[in-house]
Symmetry: C2
Subunit: 327 residues, 2 copies
DNA sequence: GGCCAATGTTGCATCGTTGAATTCAACGTG
DNA sequence: CACGTTGAATTCAACGATGCAACATTGGCC
């Protein structure tokens, strides 16, 4: 009963007689033997581990997305290691260079501080899928919604309600990842099409996407000269923060202020009022991202052309822009 | 320039002349060499990876906790792999037996379906820290808040407001993990001390801890004979679901119905009204859990006695139990 | 009986790293 | 000048699993 035979039994690889198979299996069960993954990885050159790099796990959007990705990875027998970058460029860079050693077979990254250019250059050798950010030279796959179109729809919805003083919360001019900029562009495009000139004082910059910042930005808007009658927040968290502040100031939502968010996090379905939002198909984002990664990992040499997948989204109209609350 | 010398330079271990060190370092930088973690793990018998097993990543409480744990692990140069059990006993068991191979040096698990007895028996050889669930024979470390005392405080707070018809949402009699039971016990204890006999029809069982279930339970309470004037929900998510349903039925919070939750998730700070809650010190839970795990991993043979750490908690009174909304 | 094919099992070598032991060179001392 | 001492670099072996080739066994065929 050599080690080689045991290996054959465990992997069901070579021809093993039924008799030996059973004898080996018994021994395995009895001794509680488990194959050593480190050794297996060393031999195979693969670890079966993929990395997921997101800004923050505690943010509902990324929490929900991470959950879906982990489940999808399990379906493919992959294990996921999660790293939080906290929007720190250095952390993102360290992740890519594999500082301290290469463990991951591939990486799904939602970039924040680094621009795609640097991402792709630094992480050259690592199969990689970008969430949200566009890859410049088609060096890495990318999965994202059409932010411009989605923001346009959201804003158009507010215009259709008769609102004209529509503010935007969520600009991040100092960031490289481009998402905020695209949503801002969609917002402005919709305004212009409706003949409403975009006004800089209605575009609120934020330092983070937390509720707190949404509240701060809303306060700034209310304290500013012309109070808006609608707000398009670039994320649901910002929207919920804005609604919270509106409540504390006695501003009624949606009567005095219509609010639209982006992400369709669970909170928005149960908030008071419920939150109208742009809902990206998160399940599909997870599935497609892993599909891309698998393609890239399993066909290493052939220059697989980078795919740029646009995921469908949907505007969910709820209480924050309509009369009574819809579920 | 042998492999051994390179190893010495990388680890700074043995005596290496300054000259060779530089020569090696240059080569490393130029070739982009990274040590192979699989080989290192194989040699060392350690992977530097710990597992985190939680029911669901998308739940805000576990999302926040996971984020803190990941950060704390990074401070200790550990990598975290995350597994979602979805409350599935089989998934928890598979995790413990290391089905398909042993990767993790240790495991932090928030048990759901399995009772501690089985957990400890099955995962005998794996350093393990339990979150929430008590370990019977002191075979594994445990980190948790004093659920009974905390639930007592929450209920007592409602009693102090003059409420007497206090319902509880969140019982899970079919589960083994004991947390819900402890909170129920604290709830009943407080009622009895105040001379209010616990009434079975005010104890609402739930299938999950999602907002949806909180809403369902609240509906059941309102549709039942005697509508309660207060609710203690065993988690913030249940509480938010309950508040949502109250709003849709025109029940005012806190005037008609006072609500207390448990967990202190971010949503509760920005909901309308803001949510009174029991706040466990999550940062400390994360820090202590990793400390325990480190102790156990780094002193393998010595039977380190299992520690049972009680983490402090705090009742945060907010809008859902007071007049206007406090932040 | 001798030879080949099919089937089942084993041994060898290897993945990359590192502990332990070894070689090599330079230097100081009696 | 012979010899011990110290510092620096190298070689050897091993961690555990597995691709590959070799080996053993059996049965069938001419």
């Amino acid at each position: 009963m050599s080690a080689r035979t045991v290996s054959n039994v465990v992997n069901g690889s070579a021809r093993v007689s039924e008799q030996t198979r059973q004898r080996v299996q018994e021994a395995i069960d009895e001794l509680g033997y488990r194959p050593n993954l480190a050794a297996r990885s060393l031999r195979a050159g693969r670890t079966g581990i993929i990395g997921l790099a997101i800004p923050e796990l505690h943010s509902p959007y990324f929490g929900e997305l991470a959950g879906l990705l982990v489940d999808e990875a399990r379906r493919r027998s992959w294990t996921v290691i999660i790293d939080q970058t906290h929007g720190d460029a250095e952390a993102e860079r360290r992740l890519l260079t594999g500082d301290g050693g290469r463990v991951m077979d591939g990486l799904i990254i939602s970039p924040w501080a680094l621009e795609a250019q640097e991402l792709v250059t630094t992480g050259r050798s690592l199969p990689m899928v970008l969430l949200g950010e566009r890859s410049p030279q088609g060096m890495a796959d990318r999965v994202a919604v059409d932010n411009i179109a989605a923001a346009d729809e959201a804003t158009t919805h507010l215009l259709a309600l008769g609102r004209r003083r529509i503010a935007a919360i969520g600009l991040q001019p100092h960031l490289q990842n481009g998402t905020a900029e695209q949503r801002a562009e969609g917002y402005r495009r919709a305004l212009r099409r409706a003949g409403v000139p975009p006004r800089p004082e209605w575009e609120q910059t934020v330092d983070s996407l937390h509720r707190r910042e949404g509240a701060r930005a809303m306060a700034a808007l209310l304290d500013g000269g012309a109070a808006p009658d609608a707000v398009f927040a670039f994320t649901d968290e910002l929207a919920l923060g804005a609604m919270h502040l509106a409540h504390t100031r006695g501003v009624r939502v949606p009567e005095d202020l219509a609010v639209v968010g982006f992400d369709d996090i669970e909170d928005g379905r149960f908030s008071h009022p419920t939150l109208t939002t742009v809902s990206p198909d998160k399940r599909q984002i997870a599935a497609r991202a892993l599909q891309c990664l698998a393609d890239r990992i399993y066909s290493p040499d052939n220059e697989v052309p980078a795919s740029d997948l646009t995921i469908p989204h949907q505007l969910l109209v709820r209480g924050s822009t309509s009369g009574p609350q819809n579920p």
